[in-house]
């Protein structure tokens, strides 16, 4: 019997817009739950009886409803701040309301007998970058030498051993941190991975304030974005070395570097699949470097990474369709 696909995300999520449309064109049915409209924009009634949870969500605007027992697959996309019907809550009351809402919603979803892309436990368990490096190395990937420290002298020693210099890299998102403060208090939106040079000398003593993450810079022939969707691999070659703005971090999109489809060596493709599946994930977006000598070096895996920016530039990598088909097939099974 075909059930529905529940998409949990926020109202800004372009990926969800496009995948929801593809789910419909693939013969499935999607119900979108935007967390920035939840719980204010829904009528919620769940009851536990006869050994299971039952009930439904009804979207106040339009009246579309979703019965719990009709959910066959859940696509966990992006989080958002919950919205309530009143603006009058104090900070403590709001914090408690958030905790209650989170517990109720995630608790009820976890009780469903369905398939996930990906289960919240798998996502949460897989996003720790230091652990990713250890796991990647154990699975046969080359991994850059790395350092976490609040000791300036350690940074200098680490740098002295690096033939091609060291990079500073964030382990978490400045934007996520900004969500917990008011907009007037937001200082920055992010920092790209940065090659440390003489211009940073006068700033490096500040590692004493907060431990920082550094890696040896890995020389690149090009980079790869490898997206795992279910049991399939979609790899894109990113010619990051063609423009000085993207040599260290290809995410500066002002540089219109080339993207193209890549066929991975079978052992690398297998390793990417095994890495993602080892966490119980059904989706992952892995960043690899290909060195001038052809080695594949693991940088990180993003368990809920973006893929539209690749698909737009490499249309033959139909990842929107692949995600939609996986969800529709899962909801049918």
């Amino acid at each position: 019997m075909s059930k529905r696909v529940l998409i949990v995300t926020n109202s800004d999520d372009l990926h969800a817009d496009l995948v929801a449309a593809r789910i419909e064109s693939e013969g499935g049915a999607a119900f979108r739950l935007d967390l920035d409209e939840y719980p204010a924009g829904f009528e919620i009634g769940f009851g536990f009886s006869g050994g299971r949870w039952d009930g439904s969500l009804v979207r106040t605007a339009g009246g579309e409803s979703l019965a719990l027992q009709d959910v066959g697959a859940v696509w966990m996309r992006k989080r958002a701040s919950f919205r309530y019907r009143s603006d009058g809550m104090g900070a403590h009351e709001k914090a408690h309301a958030d905790a209650e809402t989170d517990h109720m919603l995630l608790g009820i979803l976890r009780s469903l007998d369905c398939r996930w892309m990906s289960h919240p436990d798998a996502v949460r368990g897989s996003h720790w970058k230091p652990e990713q490096l250890r796991r990647a190395a154990r699975m046969g990937f080359a991994v850059p030498e790395s350092l976490m420290t609040n000791i300036r002298a350690e940074v200098d020693r680490f740098s002295a051993t690096a033939e091609h210099g060291i990079v500073f890299k964030l382990l978490s998102s400045m934007l996520d941190a900004a969500d917990s403060v008011g907009p007037q208090e937001e200082l920055a939106r992010g920092v790209p991975t940065t090659l440390i040079g003489p211009e940073h000398e006068d700033m490096l003593d500040s590692v004493a304030e907060l431990p920082c993450f550094f890696q040896h810079y890995v020389p690149k022939r090009h980079e790869l974005r490898v997206t795992v969707i279910g049991g399939s691999v979609y790899a894109a070659r990113i010619h990051s070395q063609d423009d000085p703005r993207t040599t260290t971090d290809w995410r500066d999109m002002s540089a219109e570097i080339r993207y193209e489809a890549e066929t991975l060596p079978p052992e690398v493709a297998r390793r990417c699949l095994d890495f993602v599946h080892s966490y119980g994930l059904t989706f992952g977006a892995i960043d690899l470097v290909v060195t001038p000598s052809g080695d594949h070096v693991f940088l990180e895996n993003n368990p809920v990474g973006q893929f539209l920016f690749v698909e737009q530039l490499v249309p033959e990598l139909d990842m929107t369709g692949a995600v939609a088909r996986w969800l529709v097939d899962s909801a049918r099974s």
């Binding site: 926020n10 800004d12 996520d176 200082l187 907060l210 995410r251 999109m253 002002s254 990474g305 973006q306």
Partner: protein, 47 residues
């Protein structure tokens, strides 16, 4: 600013970078909303 990350961010603030956004597609943290504008809140707990 006291931490290295925010000092680094301060050093590059004000530059006309389109970091993480290109041609109507979203990357790690933004969504194109038209007229050259990007919404910077397509982020999330699970990024």
């Amino acid at each position: 600013m006291r931490t290295f990350a925010f000092k680094l961010a301060g050093k590059t603030a004000g530059t006309d970078s389109k970091w993480m956004a290109r041609d109507g597609v979203s990357l790690a943290a933004c969504t194109y909303v038209g007229d050259g504008q990007y919404r910077w809140r397509d982020n999330g707990y699970y990024c």
